[in-house]
Amino acid sequence: MSPTVDLLIPQMATGDSTSNHTRLIQQLLEDKGFETRVVVERKSRSDGSDLSVEKWRGDARVSILQHSIGSEVAQFVIRKKTPVVLNYHNITPASYFQSWQPELAKSVQRGRQQLGQLARLTRRGIADSEFNARELRDLGIDDVVVAPVLWKLGSDVPPSEPGDSTDIDGGGTVLFVGRLAPNKCQHDLIAAFAVLSRFRPQARLVLVGQASPPQYLHSLKSLARRLGVHGRVVFAGKVSDKNLLQWYQLSDVLACTSEHEGFGVPLVEAMANGLPVVAYDAAAVAETVQDAGIVIRDKRPVTMALALHRVLSDGQLRQSLRDRGVTSAQRFDISVTREQMWIALKDLVEVED
């Protein structure tokens, strides 16, 4: 007997937002009384998956495919011509990886080719953001619903302190959270930080996230050294959820110079933790931040540095960003996003037998 819903994902990994999202969809559907099964490329005992895709028959009432990169799972769906609900998290353009990691470039290119083929098999598209939804509509998918990524927002907003409305004397901690990757453009942030250091010699830049590809991390370190700011740039690597929360609380502003964000989970986490956001207007960034952060259209070093300097030196602005951020992040609270996801799936899974 096949379950009602098959959840297809290339692999389940700890700390991966798409894997967490899948687990939460599974939890949502099981809470509603539906039987589910997680289908992956290769089943492992420890990752919570139930079936390898080679053994998947595609006969569940609904199959939901998570798609963000070329995968064997997507290839099986295409080969079997199984209609799916396509949960699209966007695919980073291959050009960002071409010169750094050609095999990753090939993989994302394959993902994009598969996306074109999957469009014909898609019953409904579920997109993290309006930006992603537009891409699906452009591929000819008419039925597209926007439902953000599901994740449990870790936040612990400390009460406002009187000192918080003043200039952060000559320093301040600028935070970036996310993979260290060419499309996230941390090199632009280090460049901006080098300019910021002229205005604020005690400032510090913290980059939290794993490097992919490793040569890019090496280049970032070389750049920081070349610009003379290596002593004030912290490469924190991949951190635990608890440490991440601490970084959010310890920092004074979150900066994002990414050129390709299908949604931007760290932007929301920062807002939820009362951390002001300064971000470059690209892809879905403005849509995620809305009117709760400073979004600039030019990320050349001087512009980005001035934006960060403004936030660090203007206590009132910081307080306003903090208040708006906390309010705005409530849009992505798990209770809200779960409901949105349920609305997106309800009529498909509740069909009477």
Binding site: P213, L223, L227, V234, F235, N243, I294, P301
Partner: protein
């Protein structure tokens, strides 16, 4: 403030930046230099994967360079005969050409291998640090624990003039104690968790590799350099390089304080894995004396670090 228009703020910032670029030539030049720096680094680093990911680049080149004149002729009967005939006719000439090319490629690759070996030796002799961000013993032997109160108090007490650099700074206890004496101090630490803990206590701990940080400092920048923590896990070559670098980066009257445990007291697993990593206080004293310092051992009541090395440049001879 709730009426604040953030789009307007963003537009103001962009306008301000444009104005500064127009009016301040130095800012415009700085921005240009920064962008150029990244362009240079990205170009050289992104092409590095060709060598890194293909393993031995020269082996790949050697394989590619060896031309094979034996053209596959397939298995279809009619075509096979024609191909065989064509191959036979052109074989002697192709063989003649490829032999010459293969000899040339072989000689070229042998020379390149020779150059690679020599460069490796040269880098070794010059104390090349690689990218230097991870100490050789980091992760192989257990990270040294944070210094005890005795070590903190004694190492901080032995620090001379500022500014003071603590390598590696751990969570910042020694930096904090030295700063408490009114001496400007900062630490450098490799382990992000320890950096995080230090930062939460508002101590000036910076993330990074101990050697690159020292190499990047100005000559004569520091009054005191404290060597402790992860220094215990570095190989001798790096320690010698560190003493040479510290000697350059110290002021003329500068002082080096070394607070490390004796590797001979390590537990068995660490002793076996960490063979060749770290040296005892006595050897530190010897090394520092060889580098021209007056060095002495100060007893310490800590159970791990029983002696602290203090080294200072000898006073210049007084004029008769």
């Amino acid at each position: 403030m709730s009426e604040l228009d953030l789009r307007q703020v963003g537009a103001e910032i962009e306008a301000d930046a444009d104005k500064r670029r127009r009016q301040d030539r130095e800012i415009a030049q700085l921005e240009h230099d920064i962008e150029q720096a990244w362009a240079d680094i990205a170009e050289s680093e992104s092409s590095r994967h060709v060598i890194d990911e293909d393993g031995d680049f020269l082996n790949q080149a050697a394989n590619l360079a060896a031309l094979d004149p034996h053209v596959p002729i397939g298995s279809r009967r009619g075509l096979r005969g024609v191909k065989w005939l064509v191959r036979k006719l052109s074989y002697w000439y192709a063989r003649f050409l490829t032999d010459q090319f293969n000899v040339f490629a072989g000689v070229l690759i042998r020379h390149l291998r020779d150059v690679e070996t020599r460069m490796g030796r040269l880098e070794g002799a010059a104390g090349y640090l690689g990218d230097g961000t991870v100490p050789a013993g980091f992760g192989v032997v257990s990270s040294p624990p944070e210094p005890s109160a005795e070590v903190v108090s004694q190492a901080a007490g032995l620090a001379g003039s500022g500014p003071c650099l603590v390598l590696s700074g751990g969570e910042g206890a020694i930096v904090e104690a030295i700063s408490g004496r009114g001496i400007s101090a900062h630490g450098v630490e490799q382990d992000p968790d320890r950096v995080l803990t230090g930062l939460r206590r508002r101590i000036d701990i910076r993330a990074g590799g101990v050697l690159p940080h020292l190499v990047g400092a100005e000559d004569g920048e520091f009054g005191t350099i404290v060597l402790t923590g992860l220094v215990e896990t570095l190989p001798l070559r790096d320690l010698v390089g560190m003493v040479n670098q510290a000697s350059l980066k110290l002021k003329k009257t500068g002082r080096i304080v070394v607070a490390v445990a004796d590797p001979a007291t390590r537990a068995r697993v660490d002793a076996e894995l960490g063979s060749g990593l770290g040296i005892s206080p006595v050897t530190w004293r010897h090394l520092l004396e060889q580098a021209g310092f007056d060095a002495s051992l100060e007893p310490c009541s800590d159970s791990r670090i029983t002696e602290i090395v203090v080294a200072q440049r000898p006073a210049p001879p007084s004029r008769p």
